[in-house]
């Protein structure tokens, strides 16, 4: 069992990295890895309410069953002037310093 951090740095539009990153994350439950998802850079746009999650629904359901936490980086939100009130409630806002600690405390980092 490993501690895995998956970082999302691309927005939900324009590429398939968001839904495919969620699919990858949903696969980590096969070996009970301790997994967290962190959205930073332009990845914070994935945390907005009401984005089109149709392609991602099955993966989000699996991730919810495994209870993997969703974090979004505060500094990336601020740089993009995204207020926290615009975020989907499953996302927890954390500082960049905390993201660094998450990475330091993980065995495996996957960036998508």
């Amino acid at each position: 069992m490993k501690k895995i951090i998956i970082t999302f740095s691309k927005p939900p539009h324009g590429t398939s990295y968001y839904s495919e990153g969620l699919r990858l994350a949903s696969g980590m439950g096969f070996d009970d890895h301790d997994t967290m998802l962190v959205f930073l850079g332009d990845g914070v746009f994935c945390a907005l309410k009401n984005i089109d999650n149709k392609a991602s629904e099955p993966f989000l359901e699996t991730i919810a069953e495994f209870k993997y936490p969703f974090f979004v980086e505060k500094e990336s939100l601020e740089k993009r002037e995204i207020p926290e009130t615009d975020l989907d409630p499953k996302f927890q806002v954390v500082s960049r310093e905390n993201v660094s600690k998450f990475i330091k405390n993980s065995n495996i980092h996957i960036g998508v």
Partner: protein
């Protein structure tokens, strides 16, 4: 050391596949174990039918080298199917088509894991 690598991009677009193949070969020659999981367009790296006329060696030749040096190369089955690659009909020998459970197992075995 067991090195695991995730590659999400294909050849002929960015230099990631070349970077991965060079890291993989250097690691294998040093005696490390290397496993590569090809995800998204990364699955194109093991197509034997690559033919860039300006190159004497195609990117797929580097992945053949990796397998010949003892490395394992796995392509995501869903990604292969999504791209219409006919269950890897034209993939190089010994490039396996498996799924995310095998990525999870690879991660479990890895001492270090890097993603591109």
């Amino acid at each position: 050391m067991n090195l695991g690598i995730l590659l999400t991009e294909g050849p002929f677009q960015t230099s990631k596949s070349q970077t991965v193949s060079e890291i993989a070969k250097a690691s294998l020659r040093k005696g490390h174990k290397v496993e590569i999981f090809l995800f998204l367009d990364g699955v194109y790296n093991v197509l034997s039918t690559q033919e860039m006329p300006t190159l004497s060696r195609q990117p797929v030749d580097d992945f053949k080298d990796i397998i010949d040096l003892g490395g394992k190369v796995i392509a995501c089955g869903v990604c292969v199917a999504a791209r219409g690659l006919e269950k890897g009909k034209n993939f190089i020998e010994n490039a396996k088509i498996l799924g995310l459970p095998q990525l999870s197992e690879m991660i479990d075995r890895s001492d270090r894991f890097i993603s591109f």
